[in-house]
Amino acid sequence: MIDNQSVYLAISIILFVIGAAGAICRRNAIVVFMCIEIMLAGVSIAFVTFSRANQSLDGIFMVLFVMAVAAAEAAVGLAIFVLMYRKHGSIDLDKFNLMKW
Protein backbone atom coordinates (compact mmCIF):
# COMPACT_ATOMS: atom_id res chain seq x y z
CA MET A 1 0.00 0.00 0.00
CA ILE A 2 1.40 3.32 -1.06
CA ASP A 3 1.71 5.92 1.66
CA ASN A 4 -0.23 9.12 1.08
CA GLN A 5 2.83 11.20 1.89
CA SER A 6 4.87 9.64 -0.87
CA VAL A 7 2.05 10.48 -3.30
CA TYR A 8 2.22 14.12 -2.20
CA LEU A 9 5.99 14.08 -2.65
CA ALA A 10 5.56 12.54 -6.11
CA ILE A 11 3.19 15.36 -7.10
CA SER A 12 5.68 17.88 -5.79
CA ILE A 13 8.54 16.33 -7.81
CA ILE A 14 6.41 16.17 -10.97
CA LEU A 15 5.35 19.81 -10.69
CA PHE A 16 8.92 20.92 -10.04
CA VAL A 17 10.28 19.04 -13.05
CA ILE A 18 7.49 20.29 -15.35
CA GLY A 19 8.24 23.84 -14.26
CA ALA A 20 11.97 23.40 -14.80
CA ALA A 21 11.39 21.93 -18.27
CA GLY A 22 9.25 24.90 -19.23
CA ALA A 23 11.79 27.35 -17.86
CA ILE A 24 14.48 25.73 -20.01
CA CYS A 25 12.50 25.25 -23.22
CA ARG A 26 10.29 28.30 -23.61
CA ARG A 27 11.64 31.63 -24.89
CA ASN A 28 8.74 33.85 -23.90
CA ALA A 29 9.76 35.65 -20.71
CA ILE A 30 6.27 35.65 -19.19
CA VAL A 31 5.85 31.89 -19.74
CA VAL A 32 9.27 31.30 -18.15
CA PHE A 33 8.13 33.42 -15.21
CA MET A 34 4.98 31.30 -14.83
CA CYS A 35 7.06 28.12 -15.00
CA ILE A 36 9.15 29.42 -12.11
CA GLU A 37 5.90 29.89 -10.19
CA ILE A 38 5.03 26.23 -10.93
CA MET A 39 8.41 25.19 -9.53
CA LEU A 40 7.70 27.23 -6.39
CA ALA A 41 4.30 25.54 -6.06
CA GLY A 42 5.95 22.10 -6.27
CA VAL A 43 8.45 22.97 -3.55
CA SER A 44 5.65 24.42 -1.41
CA ILE A 45 3.72 21.15 -1.58
CA ALA A 46 6.81 19.32 -0.31
CA PHE A 47 7.17 21.83 2.54
CA VAL A 48 3.55 21.43 3.62
CA THR A 49 3.80 17.63 3.39
CA PHE A 50 6.81 17.52 5.71
CA SER A 51 5.23 20.11 7.96
CA ARG A 52 2.17 17.89 8.41
CA ALA A 53 4.27 14.75 8.90
CA ASN A 54 6.32 16.40 11.62
CA GLN A 55 3.36 18.08 13.36
CA SER A 56 5.04 21.43 13.01
CA LEU A 57 4.13 24.78 11.50
CA ASP A 58 7.57 25.67 10.15
CA GLY A 59 6.87 24.40 6.64
CA ILE A 60 3.65 26.40 6.45
CA PHE A 61 5.48 29.58 7.41
CA MET A 62 8.11 28.83 4.81
CA VAL A 63 5.37 28.64 2.16
CA LEU A 64 3.90 31.89 3.50
CA PHE A 65 7.20 33.69 2.97
CA VAL A 66 7.66 32.06 -0.42
CA MET A 67 4.32 33.62 -1.39
CA ALA A 68 5.45 37.04 -0.15
CA VAL A 69 8.70 36.81 -2.12
CA ALA A 70 6.81 35.60 -5.21
CA ALA A 71 4.49 38.60 -5.06
CA ALA A 72 7.41 41.04 -4.84
CA GLU A 73 9.19 39.13 -7.61
CA ALA A 74 6.10 39.36 -9.83
CA ALA A 75 5.89 43.13 -9.39
CA VAL A 76 9.56 43.78 -10.16
CA GLY A 77 9.84 41.11 -12.86
CA LEU A 78 6.84 42.32 -14.83
CA ALA A 79 8.09 45.90 -14.61
CA ILE A 80 11.38 44.68 -16.12
CA PHE A 81 9.48 42.85 -18.89
CA VAL A 82 7.56 46.03 -19.75
CA LEU A 83 10.85 47.96 -19.90
CA MET A 84 12.44 45.32 -22.10
CA TYR A 85 9.43 45.36 -24.40
CA ARG A 86 9.71 49.13 -24.75
CA LYS A 87 13.41 48.84 -25.54
CA HIS A 88 13.48 45.79 -27.85
CA GLY A 89 9.89 45.45 -29.03
CA SER A 90 9.66 41.85 -27.78
CA ILE A 91 10.12 39.79 -24.64
CA ASP A 92 12.02 36.98 -26.32
CA LEU A 93 14.61 35.79 -23.83
CA ASP A 94 17.11 34.89 -26.57
CA LYS A 95 17.29 38.57 -27.50
CA PHE A 96 18.18 39.74 -24.00
CA ASN A 97 21.95 39.90 -23.89
CA LEU A 98 22.59 43.01 -21.83
CA MET A 99 24.27 41.10 -19.00
CA LYS A 100 25.85 38.44 -21.20
CA TRP A 101 29.60 38.34 -20.91
Binding site: N4, G22, S44, N54, A75, S90
Partner: protein
Protein backbone atom coordinates in the same frame (compact mmCIF):
# COMPACT_ATOMS: atom_id res chain seq x y z
CA UNK B 1 -10.73 7.84 -0.49
CA UNK B 2 -8.15 10.52 0.25
CA UNK B 3 -5.78 8.81 -2.15
CA UNK B 4 -8.29 9.10 -4.98
CA UNK B 5 -8.68 12.83 -4.37
CA UNK B 6 -4.92 13.30 -4.19
CA UNK B 7 -4.42 11.48 -7.47
CA UNK B 8 -7.18 13.43 -9.23
CA UNK B 9 -5.94 16.82 -8.01
CA UNK B 10 -2.29 16.03 -8.61
CA UNK B 11 -3.04 14.72 -12.09
CA UNK B 12 -5.08 17.81 -12.96
CA UNK B 13 -2.32 20.06 -11.60
CA UNK B 14 0.27 18.25 -13.70
CA UNK B 15 -1.90 18.39 -16.84
CA UNK B 16 -2.62 22.10 -16.34
CA UNK B 17 1.09 22.78 -15.82
CA UNK B 18 1.94 20.89 -19.01
CA UNK B 19 -0.66 22.95 -20.88
CA UNK B 20 0.97 26.12 -19.52
CA UNK B 21 4.14 25.06 -21.33
CA UNK B 22 2.55 23.79 -24.53
CA UNK B 23 -0.13 26.44 -25.07
CA UNK B 24 0.51 28.47 -28.21
CA UNK B 25 -0.61 31.82 -26.90
CA UNK B 26 0.68 33.41 -23.73
CA UNK B 27 -2.84 34.30 -22.64
CA UNK B 28 -3.90 30.63 -22.75
CA UNK B 29 -0.93 29.57 -20.67
CA UNK B 30 -1.82 32.21 -18.09
CA UNK B 31 -5.37 30.85 -17.89
CA UNK B 32 -4.11 27.27 -17.51
CA UNK B 33 -1.84 28.59 -14.77
CA UNK B 34 -4.94 29.66 -12.82
CA UNK B 35 -6.29 26.07 -13.07
CA UNK B 36 -2.96 24.73 -11.83
CA UNK B 37 -2.96 27.13 -8.86
CA UNK B 38 -6.50 26.08 -7.93
CA UNK B 39 -5.50 22.42 -7.97
CA UNK B 40 -2.51 23.18 -5.75
CA UNK B 41 -4.92 24.94 -3.38
CA UNK B 42 -7.06 21.79 -3.24
CA UNK B 43 -3.93 19.78 -2.43
CA UNK B 44 -3.23 22.20 0.45
CA UNK B 45 -6.76 21.57 1.76
CA UNK B 46 -6.11 17.82 1.60
CA UNK B 47 -2.93 18.43 3.59
CA UNK B 48 -4.97 20.22 6.31
CA UNK B 49 -3.46 23.63 5.48
CA UNK B 50 -6.69 25.49 4.79
CA UNK B 51 -5.23 28.90 5.53
CA UNK B 52 -2.53 28.36 2.91
CA UNK B 53 -5.18 27.20 0.44
CA UNK B 54 -7.08 30.46 0.84
CA UNK B 55 -3.85 32.44 0.51
CA UNK B 56 -2.96 30.44 -2.59
CA UNK B 57 -6.25 31.38 -4.22
CA UNK B 58 -6.18 35.03 -3.13
CA UNK B 59 -2.49 35.79 -3.64
CA UNK B 60 -1.52 33.53 -6.54
CA UNK B 61 -4.72 32.92 -8.51
CA UNK B 62 -5.94 36.43 -7.69
CA UNK B 63 -3.19 38.98 -7.34
CA UNK B 64 -0.19 37.54 -9.16
CA UNK B 65 -2.19 36.18 -12.09
CA UNK B 66 -3.91 39.56 -12.42
CA UNK B 67 -0.44 41.14 -12.63
CA UNK B 68 0.59 38.68 -15.32
CA UNK B 69 -2.63 39.09 -17.32
CA UNK B 70 -2.23 42.87 -17.21
CA UNK B 71 1.34 42.55 -18.46
CA UNK B 72 0.31 40.18 -21.28
CA UNK B 73 -2.47 42.48 -22.42
CA UNK B 74 -0.23 45.55 -22.24
CA UNK B 75 2.42 43.97 -24.45
CA UNK B 76 1.55 43.08 -28.00
CA UNK B 77 2.89 39.55 -28.21
CA UNK B 78 1.16 38.33 -31.32
CA UNK B 79 4.11 38.90 -33.62
CA UNK B 80 6.64 36.63 -32.03
CA UNK B 81 4.30 33.67 -31.59
CA UNK B 82 4.54 33.03 -35.31
CA UNK B 83 8.33 32.90 -35.43
CA UNK B 84 9.80 29.42 -35.45
CA UNK B 85 13.38 28.88 -34.40
CA UNK B 86 15.35 25.63 -34.53
CA UNK B 87 15.94 23.78 -31.26
CA UNK B 88 19.24 24.74 -29.73
CA UNK B 89 21.81 22.29 -28.42
CA UNK B 90 21.78 23.94 -25.01
CA UNK B 91 18.10 23.16 -24.65
CA UNK B 92 18.66 19.48 -25.41
CA UNK B 93 21.42 19.34 -22.81
CA UNK B 94 19.13 21.11 -20.39
CA UNK B 95 16.38 18.55 -20.90
CA UNK B 96 18.82 15.66 -20.42
CA UNK B 97 20.02 17.24 -17.18
CA UNK B 98 16.40 17.61 -16.17
CA UNK B 99 15.69 13.90 -16.69
CA UNK B 100 18.71 13.12 -14.51
CA UNK B 101 17.41 15.52 -11.87
CA UNK B 102 14.00 13.82 -11.97
CA UNK B 103 15.60 10.38 -11.46
CA UNK B 104 17.64 11.70 -8.54
CA UNK B 105 14.63 13.28 -6.86
CA UNK B 106 12.60 10.07 -7.24
CA UNK B 107 15.46 7.99 -5.83
CA UNK B 108 15.84 10.29 -2.83
CA UNK B 109 12.09 10.24 -2.20
CA UNK B 110 12.04 6.43 -2.41
CA UNK B 111 15.08 5.84 -0.23
CA UNK B 112 14.23 8.12 2.64
CA UNK B 113 10.55 7.91 3.45
CA UNK B 114 9.00 10.59 5.59
CA UNK B 115 10.02 9.90 9.19
CA UNK B 116 7.28 11.23 11.43
CA UNK B 117 8.52 13.36 14.31
CA UNK B 118 5.94 14.21 16.93
CA UNK B 119 6.02 17.98 17.16
CA UNK B 120 4.00 20.41 19.28
CA UNK B 121 1.15 21.02 16.81
CA UNK B 122 -1.10 18.03 17.41
CA UNK B 123 -4.60 17.60 16.08
CA UNK B 124 -6.02 18.05 19.59
CA UNK B 125 -4.34 21.44 19.95
CA UNK B 126 -5.61 22.56 16.57
CA UNK B 127 -9.14 21.41 17.35
CA UNK B 128 -9.12 23.12 20.74
CA UNK B 129 -7.88 26.53 19.59
CA UNK B 130 -8.64 26.65 15.88
CA UNK B 131 -6.13 26.46 13.09
CA UNK B 132 -5.75 30.14 12.29
CA UNK B 133 -5.40 31.02 15.98
CA UNK B 134 -2.54 28.55 16.43
CA UNK B 135 -0.94 29.80 13.23
CA UNK B 136 -1.14 33.46 14.18
CA UNK B 137 0.21 32.79 17.67
CA UNK B 138 3.35 31.40 16.09
CA UNK B 139 3.47 34.01 13.32
CA UNK B 140 3.42 36.97 15.68
CA UNK B 141 5.81 35.52 18.25
CA UNK B 142 8.44 33.17 16.82
CA UNK B 143 8.23 34.42 13.25
CA UNK B 144 7.78 38.13 13.96
CA UNK B 145 11.11 39.21 12.48
CA UNK B 146 10.69 37.34 9.16
CA UNK B 147 7.14 38.71 8.98
CA UNK B 148 8.36 42.30 9.27
CA UNK B 149 11.19 41.66 6.82
CA UNK B 150 8.62 40.28 4.35
CA UNK B 151 6.56 43.46 4.66
CA UNK B 152 9.66 45.58 4.00
CA UNK B 153 10.44 43.39 0.99
CA UNK B 154 6.94 43.86 -0.42
CA UNK B 155 7.16 47.64 0.03
CA UNK B 156 10.55 47.68 -1.68
CA UNK B 157 9.13 45.54 -4.51
CA UNK B 158 6.22 47.88 -5.15
CA UNK B 159 8.43 50.99 -5.05
CA UNK B 160 10.97 49.31 -7.32
CA UNK B 161 8.28 48.32 -9.83
CA UNK B 162 6.92 51.87 -9.98
CA UNK B 163 10.38 53.38 -10.38
CA UNK B 164 11.33 50.89 -13.10
CA UNK B 165 8.18 51.21 -15.16
CA UNK B 166 7.91 54.99 -14.91
CA UNK B 167 8.32 56.60 -18.30
CA UNK B 168 11.23 58.99 -18.22
CA UNK B 169 10.61 62.19 -20.14
Amino acid sequence: MELVFILICGGLAAIASLLVIFARSTLHSALWMVVSFFMVAVIYVLLHAQFLAMLQIIVYAGAIMMFILYAIMMLNLRREQDEKVPVRNSKIFGLVALVVLFMELVMVALQHGVEAIHGPITDQLVQAHGRVAVLSNFLFSDYLLPFEVASILLTAGVVGAVVLAKRTK
